[in-house]
């Protein structure tokens, strides 16, 4: 069942994105927030309430339970607006991330991030890539990449 997010849930997500990642709420003003059960929050077009038999909509932004967990797809689409809690693993560790493995970060790679969910970013030449979400704890990144996304990448 897809329904419009209640005010509280929407606020919870927006405040979390602002506080933890510095993302402004007005970035989403062209879209609507929906709730898809099990705490899943989606971003999708507004004015779709007359459509029946909806399975799902738009992009899954986050999952809310005791805390908010942003999705990898969210970071891949909105990564350029993230201002903090960005970690910068080496090429070797990035490949581990893409495969679904956990890895340890050094000081520089932590990039002043605090514990909690972080965005994994990778730089190559002039290009910056927003790869997805990780859980930063005790200097480690716990991999939260969905199984079906994990890939053994050769060209990066």
């Amino acid at each position: 069942m897809i329904e419009n997010c209640n005010k509280q849930e929407k606020l919870l997500v927006l405040e979390y994105l602002k506080e933890r990642f510095g993302i402004e709420a007005d970035l989403f003003s062209n879209y609507e927030f929906y709730s898809g059960g099990q705490g899943r929050v989606y971003l999708a077009p507004s004015g779709i309430s007359n459509i029946q038999k909806i399975v799902t909509v738009g992009l899954s932004v986050a999952r809310t339970s005791s805390t908010v967990k942003p999705t990898t797809n969210f970071f891949q689409s909105f990564g350029s607006f993230v201002k903090k809690n960005i970690v910068l693993p080496s090429k070797e560790k990035t490949l581990k991330y893409l495969k679904g493995e956990d890895f340890q970060l050094d000081e520089l790679e932590m990039n002043s991030s605090t514990e909690g969910y972080v965005m994994i970013q990778y730089k190559s030449g002039n290009n910056t890539f927003f790869l997805g979400c990780g859980l930063f704890q005790n200097n480690w990144i716990k991999n939260v990449l969905p199984k079906e996304k994990r890939l053994d990448i050769k060209f990066i």
């Binding site: 038999k53 738009g58 891949q76 996304k149 053994d152 990448i153 060209f155 990066i156």
Partner: protein, 307 residues
């Protein structure tokens, strides 16, 4: 044992293709790997530069800026694939959204009536630049998972996924409709020998029955003035021109539009088949035979609902 084309298959198509031997030989070879650049996330220039750095040779096609072929078997192992910057897609499968690009750009509400696993939905959403609403429907719940996965991977925000038999789809009115119909898939024989093994005329006739129902319903979901593209990946005129002819008879306000794609080789819809005579409007539809552009086979028709 190497697969062979059934004699009946050859007999059927010898008369409707310019060079039957070239077609049959081509059908027994693999098509090149191909992909499309997802402009919701990157640009063709970026992708070209990256693949150049990787030392992976890719070649553009003359009829689209964002479509490439490659001999490399490793495009699935690139960061660009992981990130949804590229979408691995057969060349001719990219054509339906391309021939309705202008109409999609001007649409607020678009229906992809048989959408899973989403090759064309992701392409349509990129043309819409994530604005308006794209309704992506499919009857097969098992394939909806792949549809959702691909749409989200490509950064699509403007989608609504519906799991319905199109024949019982709620009555909405769309600015544009794509009906990429289930078919006997003869055009995919190059990639999948299972399509060849499963081939039978009975399958062709069975698909055609369903397609008649699907095309009238898809057309009825179109606003007056709107455009619908009907496409299949099969050569069978029973599933192609005959379906368009059926629609024209059932819905007299349906008119075919000319299709032109610069740089792509194609032939026109045929008016006669096995003693059947179709409306001469069907000549405006196009047929892509695999040996024309080293792709798979496709049929495309663009239908306008007159105001």
């Amino acid at each position: 044992m190497d697969p062979v084309l059934p004699q009946r298959f050859k007999e059927r198509y010898s008369s409707i293709v310019d060079d039957p031997e070239a077609l049959f030989t081509c059908l027994m070879s693999m098509p090149p790997k191909s992909f499309r650049v997802n402009t919701l996330k990157t640009s063709a220039e970026n992708v070209k530069a990256r693949f150049n750095e990787y030392g992976l040779k890719i070649t553009g096609v003359p009829w689209s800026n964002g479509a490439f072929t490659t001999d490399s078997l490793e495009i699935g192992s690139t960061l660009e694939h992981f990130l949804g910057h590229i979408y691995i897609q057969e060349l001719s499968s990219m054509l339906p959204p391309i021939i309705m690009q202008k109409e999609i750009e001007q649409s607020h509400l678009v229906l992809d009536a048989c959408a899973a696993p989403g090759s064309k939905s992701t392409q349509i959403s990129a043309i819409m630049q994530n604005s308006g609403t794209l309704v992506a429907n499919d009857v097969d719940y098992g394939r909806i998972r792949a549809l959702k996965f691909n749409l989200e991977k490509c950064g699509v925000l403007n989608s609504v996924i519906i799991n319905q038999d199109l024949r019982y789809f709620p009555n909405l009115q769309f600015d544009s409709v794509l009906l990429d119909a289930p078919c006997s898939a003869e055009g995919t024989i190059r990639k999948s020998y299972s399509a060849l093994k499963l081939w039978s005329e009975k399958k062709v006739f069975g698909s055609a029955k369903l397609q008649q129902q699907l095309i009238t319903k898809a057309y009825d979901l179109l606003k007056p003035g709107g455009v619908m593209v009907y496409s299949t990946c099969t050569f069978a005129p029973e599933e192609d021109e005959a379906i368009i002819d059926w629609l024209i008879q059932k819905r007299p306000d349906a008119k075919l539009e000319n299709i032109s794609i610069e740089g792509l080789k194609y032939s026109h819809g045929i008016e006669d088949w096995n003693g059947l005579k179709f409306s001469d409007e069907v000549r405006k539809a196009i047929r892509i035979f695999p040996h024309y552009n080293n792709s798979e086979g496709f049929f495309l028709a663009k239908v306008k609902k007159n105001d």
